[in-house]
Amino acid sequence: MADESAVMDTVKTFIIKEFLPGEDPGNLTPTTPLMTSGILDSLATLKLITFLEQEFSVQIEAHEADEEHFNTLEAICGLVASKRG
C-alpha cells in the first residue's frame, strides 16, 4: 500500500513539474483526465513513458501507450504496478 502511494506521488510530481508548471498539486487527482483534456499530448506521453521506464525499470509496450492506460494517474500507476508484479 505504502509503495503504491509512493509510485503515485513520484508520477504526480513528474507530471506537475514537466507539464503543469505552477499548478497546485491538489488539483491533480488520481482520476483527473489527462489525455482527453490535452494535458498529455503525444509528445508528453512519450516523455512520461521514458520517465516511467527509467524510474521503475519497466518496459511499456507500444499498444499500452493509449487512453486506457494513460488517461488518469490511477491508470498509469495501475500499469506500472502490473509490470512490477
Binding site: L20, G22, E23, D24, N27, L28, T32, P33, T36, S37, G38, I39, D41, S42, L43, L46, A62, H63, A65, D66, E67
Partner: protein
C-alpha cells in the same frame, strides 16, 4: 466527373480485391461488398428523404463503416459532411446545423450528446444510428434492422453535375465558429486526376488512411487509392497519434504510400524504432499541412532511404496546389525547410503584391490560385467567400491562400509565412481567434490573447495570455479541461500565462507584439 464513379468502376474491375483493411486487426471489405453496402445506405438515405443537393453528416470513427457512409451519401446525390469524431459535441452540432444536414449517420456512443446539441441548435435532421464502427458490420446491422421494419426501395445512384457539391469540410474560423469549405465533384475529380498522373498508383498499392475524414488529406487517400484498385489501410484515431504503433502498422500492413502531416512523421523518425523492422514495401512518403523541420526530415530519409518523398502544399480551399519532390539523401548542410515547389498542372497560380498586382519575379507576395480544383466558397458565408478571392489581370478570380511565398530562380516557391493569425498545429488549421473566443467563454477570464511561436519540439507553441477576474491565477488542469469541452485537443494552448491586465497599444488594442516578445523571453 462524378466522384463516386471511381468506386463503381473499381468494383467492376476488381470486385474481389480488398478495398479497405482496418489496421491493427480490424475488419476488411472487398470492392464488391463496399459497393453493395454503400448502395444499401444510399437506398436508406433516399428512403429517409435525402435528395440530390442535400447534405448528409456523419459522426463515425474511422472505419469501413465511415467510408461506406461517405459513398452512400455521394450515391444519394448528397454532399457528405464529416465531423471530427474526437471534437466536442457543441462544435460538431454547430457544424451539422450550420449546413442544415438532411440526415446524419452517428454511432450510438455519440448520439445522446449530438441529439442534445441539435435540439439546442433548433434543427431536426433524420438520424441513422449505428451501434459502433468496425468492419462495416455495424452499418450493415443498422441497415438490416431498418430493412426488417420496412425495406428501402432500391434507387439508381445520382448523377450530379460537375458543379454540384461532393463534400463540405469545416475548418477553424477566426471569429470563433468553424466555416464550411464547399467542394464540388469537379474540384475533387480534377485533384484526384492530378494524383493519378503524379503518383501512378497500381492495384497492388496499399495506401495509408491516416488523416481523419474531415481533413482534406483524406481525399487523396480514399479516392486515389480506390480509383486504382488499391487497398486503403484505415488507421484509427488513437493509433494515429502513436509513433510506435504507426511504425508497426506501416511495416506489418506493408503500406506502399504514406500520407500525413509532418509532425507525426517527426515523431515516427524519433521514436518509431524504425531500424527494427523492414519497410521494403514503402515507395512513397507524402507530407502536407505544415512546415517539416529539416532536421527531422533528414532523420526520416536516413532511416527510410528507399521511398520517394514529396512535399505537398495547399489549403482546404484548393486541396494540393503545389508540390515538390525532395531529393534524397538531403545534404547535411541544408538548413532551410524544403520548398513548396511548383503549381500543380490542373491549376494556375500567381504571386500578388501588397497593392493587389502581380509581384515581379523573385519578390515576395501572397500566393493566389485558380482552376478546376478551387472551392466556390464557404457555406452560407457570401461576404467571407467574396473576400477570399481577388481578380488580378483577367477573370476568373484567384483564391487568396493567405500564404506569403517567393519564387526562387529554379522556379520553385518557398513558403515564408502567413498573412494573418492562422497557424498549423499537427497539420490542422488553427485560427488563434477561435482559441480566444473559446477562452472568453470561461466565466473567470476577463481578457485573453493567444500568440504562437515556432518551437522545435511542438512545431508551433500556442501561448495563451490571460487576465482573470480579481487577478486570479486559474488551475491549468481546469483550463485545459474547459478548452477540451469547446475545441478539438490540438487547439488547446500549450502554455498559459496570467497577467493583471494585458498590454495595450496606443489605439487600445491588445499589444500582440509585446506578448509575443514575452512568450519568447
Amino acid at each position: 466527373m462524378i466522384l463516386h464513379q471511381c468506386l463503381d468502376e473499381a468494383a467492376r474491375r476488381w470486385p474481389d480485391h480488398v478495398a479497405i483493411h482496418e489496421a491493427g486487426g480490424g475488419g476488411s471489405i472487398s470492392y464488391r461488398e463496399l459497393d453493395s453496402l454503400s448502395n444499401r445506405l444510399r437506398d436508406r438515405l433516399v428512403g429517409l428523404g435525402v435528395r440530390p443537393g442535400d447534405r448528409v453528416g456523419f459522426w463515425i470513427r474511422k472505419s469501413v463503416d465511415a467510408v461506406a457512409t461517405i459513398f452512400g451519401a455521394l450515391k444519394a446525390g448528397a454532399a457528405y459532411v464529416p465531423v471530427d469524431p474526437t471534437a466536442p459535441a457543441a462544435r460538431n452540432g454547430y457544424i451539422l446545423a450550420d449546413c442544415a444536414v438532411a440526415a446524419v449517420v452517428v454511432e450510438t456512443r455519440f448520439a445522446d450528446a449530438l441529439r442534445a446539441e441539435l435540439a439546442r441548435q433548433g434543427v431536426d435532421p433524420k438520424v441513422l444510428l449505428i451501434g459502433g464502427a468496425g468492419g462495416g458490420a455495424h452499418l450493415r446491422a443498422a441497415l438490416d434492422e431498418e430493412d426488417r421494419r420496412a425495406k428501402a426501395a432500391p434507387v439508381h445512384s445520382a448523377e450530379p453535375r460537375p458543379e454540384d457539391l461532393a463534400y463540405i469540410l469545416y475548418t477553424s474560423g477566426s471569429t470563433g465558429k468553424p466555416k464550411g469549405v464547399m467542394l464540388t465533384h469537379r474540384n475533387a475529380v480534377s485533384f484526384v486526376q492530378w494524383c493519378s498522373e503524379t503518383f501512378a498508383p497500381v492495384p497492388t498499392d496499399r495506401f495509408s488512411s491516416h488523416a481523419p475524414f474531415h481533413f482534406d488529406l483524406s481525399i487523396l487517400d480514399i479516392y486515389t487509392c480506390l480509383k486504382h484498385g488499391g487497398t486503403l489501410i484505415v488507421i484509427g484515431e488513437e493509433a494515429g497519434k502513436m509513433p510506435l504503433d504507426l511504425a508497426q502498422i506501416i511495416a506489418e500492413a506493408k503500406i506502399t504510400v504514406w500520407y500525413s502531416a509532418p509532425s507525426i512523421l517527426s515523431l515516427i523518425a524519433q521514436h518509431g524504432k524504425l531500424g527494427s523492422r523492414s519497410y521494403a514495401s514503402l515507395r512513397l512518403v507524402l507530407f502536407a499541412g505544415e512546415v517539416f523541420p529539416i532536421g527531422h526530415l533528414k532523420s526520416l530519409t536516413r532511416q527510410w532511404p528507399r521511398p520517394r518523398y514529396f512535399n505537398l502544399y495547399g489549403p482546404t480551399e484548393t486541396n494540393v496546389c503545389t508540390f515538390y519532390e525532395v531529393a534524397t539523401p538531403i545534404p547535411d548542410e541544408q538548413s532551410a525547410p524544403v520548398p513548396i515547389g511548383k503549381i500543380c498542372s490542373h491549376l494556375e497560380g500567381v504571386v500578388v503584391d501588397g497593392e493587389g498586382g502581380i509581384a515581379r519575379k523573385g519578390a515576395e507576395g501572397e500566393l493566389c490560385i485558380r482552376g478546376a480544383g478551387v472551392t466556390q466558397g464557404y457555406w452560407n458565408l457570401p461576404e467571407q467567400s467574396r473576400n477570399a478571392f481577388i481578380t488580378v489581370g483577367t477573370p476568373p478570380a484567384y483564391y487568396r491562400t493567405g500564404d506569403i511565398v517567393v519564387e526562387t530562380p529554379d522556379g520553385n516557391f518557398r513558403y515564408l509565412g502567413r498573412r494573418d493569425r492562422m497557424i498549423k498545429k499537427r497539420g490542422y488549421r488553427v485560427e488563434l481567434g477561435e482559441i480566444e473566443a473559446c477562452l472568453y467563454q470561461h466565466p473567470e477570464i476577463r481578457e485573453a490573447a493567444v500568440v504562437a511561436l515556432p518551437d522545435e519540439a511542438l512545431g508551433m507553441k500556442v501561448h495563451a495570455h490571460l487576465a482573470c477576474k480579481e487577478g486570479k491565477r486559474l488551475s491549468l488542469i481546469e483550463l485545459k479541461t474547459f478548452c477540451s469541452e469547446h475545441v478539438p485537443i490540438y487547439m488547446i494552448p500549450d502554455v498559459f500565462s496570467f497577467h493583471a491586465a494585458l498590454p495595450k497599444t496606443s489605439t487600445d488594442k491588445v499589444d500582440y507584439q509585446t506578448l509575443k516578445a514575452r512568450s519568447q523571453g
